[in-house]
């Protein structure tokens, strides 16, 4: 039987990135994916005949540019199309729009508040700078502040130097971004409620927090990260949906010689004398390798693939305490025609961008209140895009697909999710859109409603958390996923983790997968 250098469990984007980097370094690698296709939560599927959907995720923004470069992804089919605008319909029939053209956005803001239009540029400059300041942290292996090892001390010192090099004002801004709520942070800059609502809504995506919850401000930075490198605009679509991103990484991995097997679910990691020796598949087959890497979330990686007596008890406790609490759902619609929104009637360029249903900070906060007490939001926050407007291949000619990212839908719904509750949730979404776009409901041909429970069932992501573990301050950096084990190694020798549940985690970023591969190569397989 063939002995591999490395087995990667899970063919999500991080697993594929790790495999590609290992294969590029001339290691023999096999990726084992449970589902019939690679991509994990970044998949494109033809759910209704002729209508293709990016099932779970919907936009691409954070994929690390060095990964795109190192793996030469454009050659393997990655093509990012810009998302041009964001329109927020307001309850009074007005709207707030941000366009691709900066001057036009400024004029639009001026209409709402001259003061905010002035502040907007300065805000943008600060956020650009802060994003740049945070970037090196995303690309570094987190040093362990409890360790006295020279490498950790050097890492801490480097981190300290980096922060101090920012200078007072920016360092203070960083502290504020890390600790404040997005609503409070934006209050210091702007007065227009709908502007603050739309910006702060981006700070709550994937979290179980509201815009007034401390810790949401730093996600505001994410919007300024992609843009920096001049690779593509902040938010964009991948041609062919986010599944095409996964496919391009898979193609790159194969080109370096990696093997990818679908329909190959792993049931256990094989451990002998505290050392990983391979995996057992669900069908009973065993595959051996010198290194095993899991891209699954921490709960499944440690509590499912291993036996608890193979791990130190306090580590098991830490992993059990790691929080998931999925809070987002998705509604995918096949439409006969595009809907017209009251605030900006007709069909036009606005449909090439996003519609954000976040008319006021209170609206989004109330949506959170429902979830806090175990209900889905009666009037949820939604981020709506029409992928077929940008990539016509996603729908039959003349028809359209509509992707609605919805928050909040708590995994732990009172009484649990049932088919009836799923449909009620879908109705709440559709009815809310209808209130901003009368007549919209009659355009719906097919509807797919995805709850966090569905996300868990289909992709395996625990509690349906799209970031493979909450991105809360106490679950980041050297605490992700557990103190002392944030450097991709695990208590089992030869067994590594590379998913979004490790630093830096979250979004279709690929950084965890890349850092893990670096670590594995450094350790030598």
């Amino acid at each position: 039987m063939k002995q591999y250098d490395a087995i990667v469990i899970g063919g999500g984007h991080n697993g594929l990135v790790t495999a590609a980097y290992l294969a590029r370094a001339k290691k023999s690698v096999v990726v084992l994916e449970r589902r019939p296709r690679v991509g994990g939560a970044a998949v494109t599927e033809e759910i209704f005949p002729g209508f293709k959907f990016t099932m779970f995720s919907y936009v691409v923004s954070l994929l690390r540019p060095e990964i795109i470069r190192d793996l030469d992804l454009p050659r393997h089919g990655l093509h990012i199309l810009p998302l041009e605008s964001t329109v927020t319909p307001m309850e009074n029939g007005d709207y707030l729009a941000a366009w691709g053209d900066h001057d036009e956005t400024r004029r639009e803001l001026y209409r709402h508040s001259p003061r905010d239009a002035e502040a907007y540029d300065e805000y943008g400059r600060l956020m650009h700078f802060m994003a740049q300041a945070v970037k090196p942290i995303l690309g570094m292996v987190p040093p362990d502040p409890t360790s006295f090892a020279p490498g950790d001390l050097a890492g801490l010192l480097k981190l300290g130097k980096h922060f101090r090099s920012l200078g007072g004002e920016r360092l203070h801004a960083l502290v504020k971004l890390m600790t404040m709520s997005s609503a409070d942070f934006l209050d210091e800059w702007f007065e227009t409620d709908v502007l603050k609502a739309t910006k702060s809504a981006s700070g709550i995506i994937g979290t179980f927090l509201g815009p007034r919850s401390p810790g949401t401000a730093y996600v505001l930075l994410h919007h300024y990260m992609g843009e920096l490198d001049g690779v593509f605009r902040a938010w964009g679509f991948a041609k062919g949906g986010t599944g095409a991103v996964s496919d391009s990484i898979a193609a790159a991995a194969r080109s370096f010689g990696a093997e990818i097997r679908c329909n190959a679910g792993v049931s256990k990691v094989l451990v002998r004398n505290g050392h990983a020796t391979g995996v057992a598949l669900e069908n009973g087959d065993e595959i051996t390798a010198r290194t095993v890497v899991s891209s699954l979330d921490p709960r499944r990686t440690f509590l499912q693939l291993l036996e608890s007596d193979q791990l130190p008890p306090e580590f098991v406790q830490d992993i059990k305490r790691f929080k998931f609490r999925g809070s987002s759902g998705k509604v995918n619609l096949a439409l006969d025609a595009l809907p017209s929104f009251t605030c900006m009637p007709g069909i036009g360029r606005q449909h090439r961008g996003a519609f954000s249903i976040s008319p006021s900070v209170d609206y989004v906060e109330r949506a959170y209140d429902d979830a806090k007490y175990g209900e889905f939001s009666r009037r949820p926050y939604m981020d709506i895009v029409f992928p077929s407007m940008i990539d016509p291949g996603m729908a039959p000619p003349g028809k359209h697909v509509m992707s609605i990212f919805v928050q909040y839908a708590p995994y732990n719904l009172n009484g649990g999710w049932t088919d009836a509750k799923r449909e009620a949730f879908g109705d709440a979404v559709v009815n809310t859109v209808e209130s901003f776009a009368p007549g919209f409901k009659s355009l719906i041909r097919h509807r797919q409603v995805i709850t966090p429970l569905d996300i868990e069932r289909i992709t395996g992501l625990s509690e349906g958390n799209i970031f493979a573990g909450e991105l809360a301050l106490h679950q980041l950096f050297f605490l992700r996923p557990a103190p002392g084990w944030a450097k991709f190694a695990t208590p089992v020798r030869g067994f590594y983790q590379c998913g979004s549940g490790t630093h830096p985690g979250g979004g279709i970023m690929g950084a965890s997968g890349r850092l893990a591969a670096m670590r594995i190569l450094k350790d030598g397989t």
Binding site: T146, F148, H172, K176, S181
Partner: protein, 447 residues
Amino acid sequence: MKYDAVVIGAGANGLVTAHYLARAGKRILVVEQRPAADPAADIGWIPEVVIRDLGLSGAGLRIYEPDPWISAPLPGAGALELSRDMARSTEAIRRISPADAAKWPEFCGRMRTLAGVLERLYLASPPDIESNDARELARIAAVGLYVRRLGKQTVIDLARILPMSIAELLDDWFESDVLKGLLGALGVWHLKQGPRSGGTAFNFLHHHAGCREGVFRPARSNVTQALSNVSGVEVRRGERAAVLAKNGRATGVVLEKSGEAILAPLVVSSADPRATLQPIAFELDPEFAHAVDNIKARGVVARGTLALGSTPPYATFCIAPSLEYLERAYDDAKYGRDSAAPYVEVQRTDSRVELHVQYVAPGAHGDLLQRVAGVLNVQPNHVQLQAAEQSLYHGELTLDQILFMRPVPGWSRYRTPIEGLYLCGSGTHPGGGIPGAAGRNAAREIL
């Protein structure tokens, strides 16, 4: 000039600064707008060093240490009473939850260690992380080393717990709603946040500073009275003073009623940083003035008194039956309403019975009195309430407003851009609930 320094405000911090300066040979005038000291403000840890330095024990300082330190009603009947004695508290908890009782001593120990770290940080000026001064860097390194010596668990706890919500922290440890409610209340104490908001675990530890292991309510005392008994500074009461500044320099204060100007080369304000600085905004650079405007100091607490025929049988009575109760009380505040079912705490001292009611919104208070009376099951005419528009602490104790971020980022060393004008109140590091700490740190910076 008759005085070397004028101190604005005769609260604990103002008086502490005044006394330290007086001890260094300076002639001091303290101006206070209230005609008499406000005993209700004397809550919190009075650092031992302040008591010793200023001889407060000899000046009649009394610290109330009620035992049990808290009572909370149990569903049905009876109450959970927690004592200063660990074994007795554990026993009381065992009656409602054996699992929680088993964890109680370890929880108390861990929290005490963490509060100890804060205490050390609080008795000195905040670390200046921008400094290139070797001594300051050495001081920061010493704090780092001190924390590391406390062990791996403490380092991890600090990093994990400080940004956490008090609800997450308590859910990690306990199952009893009553226990979590009375502990959670300290996490949101004087904060416009709910127990599920990040950073409330820090607020919890902040108010644990100075408390004995297993006691989670700040002590009450007569510290302001004791400080007034100490001789050496002149205090003028019933006068509101504003800072006089010219060409970027403080020149003294003006008394608002009489218009009298009192000139002095040094002015130290223990008043709210915003109230101190906004009237002289024209002397400030716009960035700094903007930062001052942005200090979050939202008042969410109404304080008052309860007049009952007899002395209540408890020292501190807490009505916050669960974390969800607190969270819902906060929900109302988010949308600018008084809590429909507020968190109410009754605190008895020798002379009076005080009330802490949270959350109240700014503005009119409709039937708040009835709601509080209803929650306490007393007649409304026995309740007296006064809601504060501003945070008692002159700045909320959230993670973005502590240490080198307090009162405004980069100006945490009690100085202001106005030469000769210093701040020493609870708006500065280490913040409210620690009478005298900011005052002492400020005096040390001035000297």
